[in-house]
């Protein structure tokens, strides 16, 4: 057997192994979502707790107005929630935009904290910690500055959180607001539904395991205090918080009926920067938490650590091997001699990939159609390949940060004016 044979074998085993894991999660996910879709998501509670909605915002004047108005429009009792927008070292007119909203809604608890480059400008975790210091809620809700949550989202999230004392947090679903803006946002929309929503649902259904996505979630204030706030070094503060909650013995629920719509990057450069930041954050969390993969008391979180490790190590290397062998094979520079190594294997993998994604679109309104199916195939050969570049870039950047002792920098996603 040649080196190409060994690498092919490795790639096949890794890709098919992860494919089956995803299929397994998708089946759990669809069962869970169908079950939840039979309900309205609400759980009656006697008294609604005080909620602090935190919105970290850095130069978000293009989108912040729409977000704050959506937050003010929640069907949650008006006197039981406050909104804290941390206008974090912004150089645009966010402060003026927020001031106008404040003046137009004098009876509402809308707090705007304008920070300078000394107090603020140090990333999302730092902004959240600032908001935490002035918050009065016993439940904290987090929304990104580009979100427009549906009016019932907060109530559903809080009701679910208060319904179970073992719950540390409840996360909702996020959808792509600008999905028709470009082909990239179409891909992001599909990816969001398939690999964030359905995957979350599957993990929750089978293992009561869920990862906070960074927005549209509620968490108990007491737990945040116990943790000492958000880890300012973490670029993926959401994943970091999730792991800490599980280590504390709580679990996180996924509630897909609490929906928020967010703006996704429309241009490749923006997308690449955002995803690199996410990947760097996940690598940081993976390295920091990998030791817990073998600690029993870490609970189901161990599975998530292993899953992250599989994706960022196994999947990445397998895809690199597979693509390299494919390209070298076309150039006639390498030849795989494995018996049975045929296009049938790749054909079946593509079929399962398409079906796996289609199943997630089938549960959504206006998402399941032939165009989407074609987009999924196109996505496999274009968008999915970019993921490899993102992770490699994030890996190199993380190493550089480590070698040169650089601090993690919050590389903000640029917003685009929507019509």
């Amino acid at each position: 057997m040649s080196l190409a044979d060994y690498l092919s074998l490795y790639a096949i085993a890794a890709i098919w192994g992860l494919m089956f894991i995803n299929i397994f999660l998708s089946i759990g996910g669809i069962i869970y979502i169908l079950k939840i879709n039979n309900t309205d998501g609400h759980i009656p509670i006697k008294e609604y707790p005080m909620v602090t909605i935190m919105v970290p915002a850095h130069n978000e004047s293009i989108v912040i107005r729409r977000t704050v108005l959506a937050l003010l429009d929640f069907d949650y009792p008006e006197d039981r929630y406050e909104i804290i927008v941390v206008n974090d070292n912004s150089t645009d007119d966010s402060a003026e935009v927020l001031q106008v909203i404040q003046s137009k809604n004098p009876g509402r608890k809308l707090i705007v904290i304008n920070t300078d480059n000394i107090l603020g400008g140090k990333g999302k975790s730092n902004a959240l910690n600032i908001a935490l210091s002035v918050s009065s809620g016993t439940v904290i809700a987090i929304y990104d500055a580009d979100n427009t949550p549906e009016p019932n989202a907060l109530r559903i999230l809080v009701e679910n959180l208060m319904g179970d004392d073992n719950l540390g947090a409840v996360v909702g679903k996020f959808r792509t607001r600008n999905r028709n803006a470009s082909i990239l946002t179409r891909f992001v929309n599909i990816e969001t539904l398939a690999y964030q929503c359905m995957n979350q649902a599957g993990r929750y259904y089978f293992f009561k395991l869920c990862t906070i996505p960074g927005t549209n979630y509620v968490i108990r204030r007491s737990l945040i205090d116990e943790m000492g706030g958000w880890d300012a070094k973490a670029l993926s503060e959401d994943t970091e918080i999730s792991f800490r909650l599980y280590r504390m013995g709580y679990y996180i629920r996924f509630m897909p009926l609490a929906v928020t719509w967010e703006q996704e990057p429309q241009l490749l450069g923006q997308w690449f920067k955002q995803r690199t930041r996410w990947a760097k954050g996940n690598i940081y969390v993976l390295i920091k938490n990998f030791k817990y993969a073998f600690v029993k008391k870490a609970g189901p979180m161990r599975l998530d650590v292993l899953y992250f490790a599989l994706v960022y190590v196994l999947m990445l290397t397998a895809l690199i091997c597979s693509d390299a062998i494919f390209v070298l094979g076309i150039l006639g520079l390498c030849h795989v001699t494995l018996a049975g190594f045929s296009t049938l294997l790749w054909g079946m993998a593509i079929l399962l990939f398409v079906l796996n994604v289609l199943i997630t679109l089938a549960v959504e309104k206006n998402e399941f159609n032939l165009q989407s199916a074609l987009l999924i195939v196109l996505m496999l050969f274009t968008y999915s390949k970019l993921w490899v570049a993102v992770v490699i870039n994030a890996g190199i950047s993380s190493m550089q940060d480590k070698i040169y002792h650089k601090e993690a920098v919050w590389d903000k996603t640029e917003r685009i004016e929507e019509t």
């Binding site: 044979d5 299929i23 018996a339 294997l345 289609l358 089938a362 549960v363 309104k365």
Partner: protein, 544 residues
Amino acid sequence: MMFKKAFFGIIILLIFFTPSTLVNAEENSGIPDGEILIIYSDGADEDALQAVQSIVEILTYQSFKVSFASASDSTEELDRFSNIICYQLEKYPKELLEKFQTLEETTSDTTKGRPKDFKHNILFMGNDCLKAYLDGSGRNDYLSDEMKIGKVTYNFSELTSKEELVEENFFLFLKDNLDYTSGKIETEDTEGYFCASKGNITHIPVSDLSDELVKAAFVKEVAAWKWPYNGEPNIYAQYIVLNQVYPFEDPDKLLKVINYLVEKKEPFVISVMPIYTNGTFPAMQQFCEILRYAQDNGGTIIMHCPINQMISFDKDLMNKYIRISLQIYMDQGVYPMGLQVPENWMLNDDTIDIMSHFSTIFTTNEEDQQIEAQMDSNTNLIYKDGHHWVSSSIRLDDTGVSYTKVSSTAVYLDMTEDIPILEYKIDVCQKSFVPLKSLWDIEHSFWTDEDLMKYSNQIIMINGERAERGFTPTEYDTNYKYDRNILNQFSKDLSSENQKLIIAVFIISIIFILFIFLSRHRNREKFFIKNENDEVEEDKKDGN
């Protein structure tokens, strides 16, 4: 003061000249002993050196120990050699001609016909040097023709005559009382010989060894020149070699050609390509079964050396590949008797070392691009290993049949050609004046790090144990398990795993499709299908 300057000047001159003199002396004494010395021009160009290599190879095939050096390096060494070939000498020290004269004077001519008992025999190939020599010694027993083009006619046997046009700067022919002549060269004005001897001087006027006819004629003439007795030198056979036979190829064609040879009762050789893995696959077993059938019916197997297996030449790796491949074949009852190599393997220390493991070597006209010829040894090192050499026949026609019988030759039949063409070539070989021979009639041996093979008196011994080469049909395992070597537990044949995978994919696809239908139905119920009761309730809510 003047004395001091002169003294230092002498010292400096001594320092300047002494080392180079010493180096020259070392180089001169560096020409190894040999039966034949080949002298070439000082500053000979690439083509001339290529021709010298070719002469060295030709003489190696004829089992002569050869030395070669430039004219300057050879001048003081001539006395040590009884047989000297002067190849296309154009630049040389003047002393060389004086030396030739001395050598001629020390010879004695007492026999009639082609004299054989000279102390020194000189073969001039080309005309410049011989003309200068004859002129310098005041002789005019030659014809000089300024024409540049001539037609060579040469008879390899009574019935086979070949013609070819050749080009030289001018032609020179010895005349008067020639002891020996052979072949013919005709120019527009003159008719002369291809080869002639007069006293201890033998002359071949043409020197272009890239011309196949000139090369073949030279092979014959040099053997006769070196033959110490009257009459023709010993006769060697030609071997029919089925070349470029790859494992796993469709064996039907190979079997048809073998059967044709068996029907004709002609001995033959099959040169198989090496194989490094999957030696027990049914296709390989079937291929080897045909080889065993051939072994049992007059056919002998040799193995081609590994090619295109490494980025740069690696002797150890090459030995390893050869060992693995030989083991695979021997495990299947196929016993290669020799190794087939590109011709330039004869001129490199590493490849010579590899070949030293085999007593029988077949060479081809291929060139291994990873091998560099090493001319600095000034001798055919390989001769000392005493191989049985079989060279590629010199192609004088489309069939490739051999026209020389002074050393063993191989007629390579390209197995990619159509069967009628192969059969035609076999027929031509059968009718050739050069006899065919079986490799089973001579002794062979090889050794690797793990195996020692010896063949003599129809008995093959592998590591001291007798191996049977008789043919028995094989029963194939129709349910063969394609287990891989190192990663047996992981790297099972994927095609059998694929069956399970297809079933799994089918089941998953069905489940997914069912879920898709269910989800769509639920969505439709939720967003589009309304029953009457729902509508009534909605109306109530709206207050209608």
